[in-house]
């Protein structure tokens, strides 16, 4: 599992342009810039952004698309169950870019961005905790919000919401 998810060496040169092979680009509806790298080009794409003035990784989170598979994606991007969404911020250009990475359920591993942005440490732990996405290369891949002996990853869509039973007729049972 770990071997398959480890970042492989990408043949393409990482030049000045971010739109190298393997990185699809799109603009989401409210005019936000979004790129869709593959897992192989993910770290390189983020590194290109960092080198071109995106000083900060402001956010990283996971999304589970189990019950919403038909989402709109640009051509050439195959939808997978999980997505890791990284929001990069350039202070000098006052510009944001969003990196959406498809992560298959069968091999939910992603190379860690810790070496590029040490600030992703807590965020990657949170995504691991709540979605079970493993970040390879992270120095301390442990749970962060939930207790250490918790079973499952609660923000997955097949994880029950849970509820306290109430006493009236027709109350929906636990899901």
């Amino acid at each position: 599992m770990t071997a398959a998810g480890a970042p492989e060496v990408v043949a393409e040169p990482t030049g000045a342009s971010h739109s190298g092979g393997g990185v699809a680009r799109a603009t989401s509806r409210p005019g936000q810039e979004v790129v869709f790298p593959t897992r192989q080009s993910y770290v390189d794409a983020v590194r290109d952004y960092r080198d071109s003035g995106f000083e900060m990784c402001s956010d990283l989170c996971g999304v589970d698309y189990l019950t919403h598979p038909g989402r709109t994606l640009p051509n050439g991007v195959a939808p997978e169950r999980f997505e890791v969404v990284v929001n990069l911020l350039s202070l000098s250009q006052a510009r944001r870019v969003r990196v959406r990475l498809q992560v298959p359920e069968s091999d939910a591993t992603v190379p860690s961005l810790f070496d590029l942005y040490p600030g992703t440490e807590a965020m990657e732990r949170e995504a691991f905790d709540l979605f079970g996405i493993v970040f390879v290369g992270h120095p301390d891949m442990t749970r962060i919000l939930l207790p250490e002996d918790w079973e499952g990853h609660p923000l997955r869509k097949d994880y029950g919401v849970g509820r306290v039973p109430v006493q009236f007729k027709g109350a929906p049972g636990p899901r």
Binding site: P30, M56, D59, L145, D149, D158, P165, P174
Partner: protein
């Protein structure tokens, strides 16, 4: 009491756990507890243990994690040679001691647990252990309609609830493509700026208390009370207002709000000068805050720190100025920056941000336009109460909005606002239904806590409380 199923996971959910993450049994406590009479103590340690999340002994920590915990990893990517004496990895366990501070510690501002490795009185490593207030609000958000959503997010950062409501509303409105009426924007600006004042006053109060100035605590709470009284008059509640909603605000401002706000502005401005006298010029206060918990701009950026913590290092980054939302480009205010990135800079930034907010509020009072306080889209906002009595459609729309909610077109968006603690972001994914498919809140305190190990390193244990305070963590937002 019947069984509570809320905490029972229904299944293992998907892929088997990664080999690295298979849980080790929790450590069985200290070696000296292994004897019989201490069984009970040992059991208690095991019961409350967070296992590998905790700060482990040096000998049991692998080098990469150790380097991260002492903050050296930040300097590695820059290619700067690391001073070996700076990372005393070779330091043996017997010279140091690991102690717990929190989660039940009055000066951790909630249920923050800090594990500190001490050499005498010097802090070597710090690890925040969080999650004691985790209530799964992001999961809850997936079960609530967008109409109900702001009641949920307002409980995250309970000192700046209106900012939470604002960021969710802006995200929903960005997906809706809604054009907001000007008065709604200005009312929102007025409320969030007042909220910034009240939040910073609360910080002044608790920070004063952490440094032993109990009069500051009383004064801070006293002035905050005025702002909360205005909030109660306007929204009906002192906290958790649910006032800023997708589509506008819940109500218009009450009659005579200009007078109330002007009184608040005058009083707070006058009192900030008193705080100056009480704290800023005080030799004791300065000695306890100058040069303590320093941070460089590079370190702050690498650690994704935002808000007053980032600005204290001299980076003039304020989303209100740099990436304006609402009508912040139409008001005049200064972005306060520091120089040294120490506790004193963070204190003076917050004190002066109160003054800048008051400046903004005065301009808002002058410029407040007439008009509607919400969009008149029957699918998004409920009709006025009077229309319900006379129009069948109005009644239907009212019923639909509050039972089904409104549908938001499919898409995803990231919106960020400047909360008193830093960049408060909301990543919202909609699948076209009336409920959020995924709502992620980027809490500034959650991220800012990452700076703690670096800021505390090499400092004194007595300063740990002060450093933790100047980050201004709100645990409701850290744990969500």
């Amino acid at each position: 009491m019947s069984d509570v199923q809320a905490t029972t996971p229904t299944d293992g959910a998907g892929a088997p756990p990664h080999p690295d993450t298979v849980l080790d049994p929790p450590p069985s406590g200290d070696e000296f507890l292994d004897d019989g009479p201490f069984d009970r103590a040992q059991g208690l340690v095991a019961e409350t243990s967070e296992g590998v999340q905790e700060l482990s002994r040096r000998s049991e920590t692998d080098p990469s994690q150790l380097r991260r915990e002492v903050g050296a990893v930040l300097r590695l990517p820059e290619g700067v040679a690391v001073d070996p004496s700076d990372i005393d990895i070779e330091q043996t366990d017997d010279e140091t001691m690991i102690i717990n501070m929190g989660p039940q510690h009055p000066s951790t501002h909630g249920v923050l647990r800090l594990m500190l490795e001490l050499d005498g009185e010097t802090v070597l490593r710090t690890k925040p252990v969080i999650g004691y207030l985790h209530t799964g609000m992001e999961k809850t958000a997936e079960e609530l309609t967008y109409v109900q959503g702001s009641t949920n997010v307002t409980r995250m950062d309970y000192l700046a609830p209106l900012h939470n409501e604002l960021v969710l509303s802006l995200a929903v409105e960005a997906l809706l493509g809604a054009e907001m009426p000007p008065r709604s924007d200005w009312i929102r600006m007025l409320m969030v700026e007042l909220n910034r004042v009240s939040s910073h006053l609360m910080w002044m109060a608790t920070n004063g208390m952490d440094l032993g100035s109990t009069s500051m605590m009383i004064y801070g709470f006293r002035e905050r009370e005025m702002v909360l009284a205005f909030f109660e008059k306007t929204t009906g509640l002192r906290m958790n207002h649910n006032f800023i909603r997708p589509g506008g605000t819940a109500a218009d401002l009450p009659d005579g709000w200009e007078d109330d706000v002007t009184v608040i502005c005058d009083t707070v401005m006058e009192r900030t000068d008193e705080y100056d006298e009480l704290l800023t010029g005080q030799p004791l206060f300065r000695q306890r805050s100058e040069g303590i918990g320093t941070l460089s701009a590079e370190e702050a950026l690498a650690l994704s720190l935002t808000g007053p913590v980032l600005r204290s290092t001299g980076v003039p980054w304020d989303l209100r100025r740099s990436m304006p939302y609402l009508r912040y480009d139409e008001v005049d205010f200064d972005v306060i920056v520091g120089t040294y990135g120490d506790n004193f800079d963070r204190y003076s930034i917050r004190l002066n941000e109160i003054r800048e907010s008051v400046k903004i509020i005065r301009q808002i009072v002058e410029k407040m336009p007439a008009g509607d306080y919400r969009i008149q889209d029957k699918k998004v906002t409920p009709p006025p109460r009077g229309r319900i009595d006379e129009s069948m459609e109005a009644l239907i729309h009212h019923f639909k909005v509050f039972t089904e909610g409104f549908k938001v077109p499919e898409g995803e968006v990231y919106v960020a606002v400047e909360s008193p603690r830093g960049e408060l972001g909301c990543y919202l994914v909609s699948d076209g239904s009336p409920k959020a498919y995924r709502m992620h809140i980027r809490g500034p305190s959650f991220v800012n806590l990452q700076g703690l190990p670096l800021m505390m390193r090499g400092g004194l244990l007595a300063d740990a409380v002060a450093v933790c305070s100047t980050i201004d963590p709100v645990m409701g937002e850290v744990d969500r």
